[in-house]
């Protein structure tokens, strides 16, 4: 446990190098967000008060919350770094040390998130404050607590997905195209583009069986009070299922990858 504490501290120190990069990234991410919010405002301008059960304030809140969830949970540099570790043989040292590479990366992911949240605090914070009239408060205190818990699950889930894609570096030269495919799936199916329940019911239901909605849509829905009671319990069950399943898959693929892996030099 102490070792992992050290890794997290070390990770924070190393990731601080990226602080300007993270700041810019968080800032430029606000541009499409602002554009999408402007688009919805224009749609509501000529419409009745609700679109698919969302008032304008709820819809805009949805996007603000997606931004907050994204800033605190999504993977930024980890997948590239893992792929690079595999490519240049840096994982070799983990094969002879009593330390698990996946746990090591998970610690670094958390340090990365901590630094990112700090760097993004100013641009995202200012933006949310500017748009604060559209941010509805959580429906109740329980919803806020449950939202925060599901946020941790969502972070781990997204990390395992990216870890799996990075594992492709065992077999292919370049993983960036695969990373962008995963990113596209996440944009759509995790509800970053729009709330999934404005889709036709059957389509939204089908998507809820994939791991993606549990990255963004599920936590945001908890905050907005859109999932409660049995649906909430069921959602948590599926979220936990995906975390465990992806962890198992990550382990399996790692083992498979090592079988065909050769480290040259030291």
């Amino acid at each position: 446990m102490k070792t992992y504490g050290h890794i997290i501290t070390m990770g924070i120190q190393n990731t601080l190098v990226y602080r300007v990069n993270f700041f810019c990234r968080a800032f430029f991410n606000l541009i499409p967000l602002f554009a999408t919010m402007a688009l919805w405002r224009a749609i509501y301008a000529g419409k009745p008060a609700e679109v698919a059960g969302y008032t304008l304030a709820q819809m805009l809140s949805y996007y603000l919350l997606v931004t907050i969830v994204e800033a605190s949970t999504s993977v930024t540099e980890d997948d590239w770094q893992i792929a690079a570790d595999i490519k240049d043989g840096a994982i070799g040292q983990f094969l002879i040390r009593p330390m698990d590479y996946l746990h090591y990366r998970l610690c670094l992911f958390f340090s990365g998130r901590a630094v990112y949240v700090l760097a993004a605090l100013v641009p995202v914070g200012v933006f949310v404050l500017w748009q604060r009239e559209f941010l509805v408060p959580p429906v109740n205190a329980t919803a806020l607590v449950v939202f925060l818990i599901s946020l941790v699950f969502s972070a781990v889930l997204q990390f395992f997905l990216s870890y799996l894609i990075a594992m492709l570096a065992f077999w292919v030269l370049e993983i960036s195209s695969f990373t962008f495919i995963l990113l596209a799936c996440e944009r759509l199916a995790s509800g970053q583009m729009f709330p999934l329940d404005i889709l036709p019911h059957w389509l939204a239901q089908a998507m809820m069986w994939t791991p993606f909605p549990y990255g963004t849509f599920f936590p945001v829905s908890i905050y907005l009070g859109k999932v409660t009671g049995v649906a909430l319990a069921q959602g948590f069950l599926l979220q936990s299922f995906w975390v465990v399943a992806l962890y198992a898959a990550a382990r399996l693929v790692w083992q498979r990858g090592l079988r065909s892996y050769t480290v040259v030099g030291g």
């Binding site: 541009i31 554009a35 402007a38 688009l39 419409k47 195209s177 759509l188 404005i198």
Partner: protein, 276 residues
């Protein structure tokens, strides 16, 4: 700082550059063909993201009939045009702009400065990304389909106008991206440049009516995102509020290019090499 052969005449110079550009193209084809699987995979990625934008539009129009005065198929045309312009820019110039920062930090810029060719030309046109042309074709195909849905029959003049304005838009894309890349002469690293570019130009796909007040002015007269795809589409669909919109796009194209040139020259003068 920019070495230029002084004795060659204008037509000869043009021929020399055309020849040079031809050989850059040949190497591009050879390079792409040596990584065929990767090439096809990237085509798929581009198509996927394009489909995602169209999908988003389809979902939105499930819940509304129009955004301001923009109907569903007009927005599809806008998304198609935006993709067409962006992919054209990507094919010809984007990779080069993205690599400028690397050239500066590794000191490889030194070698490019030594060539007896205009440095900006060399820096901007070294690589051609052939996949971009296929992407551009997909944008055009979507536009044609949307035009058919709208029962549009544009005249030859409208089509020519569209084509010319698209070139001006590519110039704006290039000038802004080049400007952002030039800033890497000063900053330590211009990481995430391409991501920033995609985020910024995502505004071009949104109907201009969604923006009001200060942001409308910002994205029209400072960073002309609301003109680059919108004006060419309006010309094609006879949707122009006034011909002034065309002149505005032309003027902004000139202004952006001028600013990027100015900053480029200042940056070159400051360049002190990273090597040795």
């Amino acid at each position: 700082m920019t070495p230029q052969p002084s004795t060659t005449s204008e037509p000869l110079r043009l021929r020399r550059y055309a020849g040079l550009y031809g050989s850059l193209w040949r190497t591009a084809v050879v390079r792409e063909m040596s990584f065929q699987a990767n090439f096809i995979l990237w085509l798929f990625v581009e198509l996927l993201w394009f489909a995602l934008q169209l999908g988003f539009n389809a979902v939105i129009y499930q819940h509304t009939d129009s955004i301001g005065d923009w109907t569903k198929w007009q927005v599809v045309m806008l998304i198609g045009a935006s993709h067409f312009i962006q992919q054209l820019f990507q094919a010809l110039l984007l990779t080069n702009c993205a690599q400028l920062s690397d050239l500066v930090h590794t000191g490889r810029m030194d070698f490019l400065l030594l060539f007896p060719v205009n440095t900006r030309f060399l820096v901007s046109a070294r690589f051609v990304d052939l996949g971009g042309f296929i992407g551009a074709a997909s944008g055009l195909a979507v536009m044609i389909y949307a035009a058919a849905q709208l029962h549009l029959t544009p005249t030859v003049a409208q089509i020519a106008g569209f084509g010319l304005l698209c070139l001006v838009s590519v110039l704006i894309h290039y000038s802004l991206m080049f400007l952002m890349a030039t800033i890497s002469f000063w900053t330590v690293r211009a990481q995430g440049l391409v991501m920033a570019y995609y985020n910024l130009f995502s505004i071009a796909r949104i109907p201009d009516v969604a923006f009001r007040g200060a942001t409308r002015v910002l994205f029209t007269l400072v960073i002309p995102m609301l003109l680059v795809a919108s004006v060419p589409v309006k010309v094609l669909g006879a949707k122009l509020a006034s011909p002034a919109e065309i002149f505005l796009l032309l003027a902004m194209g000139g202004a952006c290019f001028l600013v990027s040139s100015l900053v480029w020259h200042v940056a070159l003068r400051r360049y002190a090499s990273a090597s040795s």
